[in-house]
Symmetry: C2
């Protein structure tokens, strides 16, 4: 049986600050591994690993061009995060509403 998805989930993927920087960098443009890694103080191999984690989570796409591998942002999986967040928004909205009420009752 093919193992469909021990994939990394989006929550775990964005937990690392370097990976968040990668997403930010790749939101502008598609870039090759070497060029990407020039923006970071760690080795190209380490960057490559981070990119694979992001790819596993579906947050970036890989494309081979000659000897390069180019990556670009794939924002769709972030919708899961947005949906997760939306559940909690009402709690802080609620707090804000209570605060407003309190202030206005003055």
């Amino acid at each position: 049986m093919a193992d469909i998805s021990p994939k990394h989930d989006v929550f775990q993927a964005i937990a690392d600050p370097t990976r968040r920087e990668l997403l930010s960098l790749l939101s502008d443009q598609e870039m090759s591994v070497t060029i990407i890694s020039e923006h970071f103080p760690i080795s190209r191999t380490a960057v490559s690993k981070h990119l694979h984690v992001l790819a596993d989570a579906g947050l970036v796409s890989e494309r081979k061009v000659g000897r390069e591998t180019r990556y670009k942002l794939q924002p769709e999986p972030l919708m899961e995060l947005k949906q997760w967040l939306s559940y909690y928004e009402r709690f802080w909205d609620n707090k804000l509403a209570k605060l407003k009420k309190f202030v206005e009752a003055d």
Copy 2:
């Protein structure tokens, strides 16, 4: 020098599925550690550790009541997440817009 800043950031705190379940559980009501841990297959001590991580990130508050320690959701730090997300929303909005354009050009 007192270290004001939280030890764990919100991204790292929500990366763990157990901790996300904890947040969900505590959004309903304030609960003691023992009661909370009855909802999980792991030890009370392990749950307690997760709660401390969440507290470090500011996502739950602790309150001592007699010999109990009660926790409840503190959703405010999730705003940082929302803000981070908002930057990426335009990218998928953009994609949707392009798709719409393409479909309508038919």
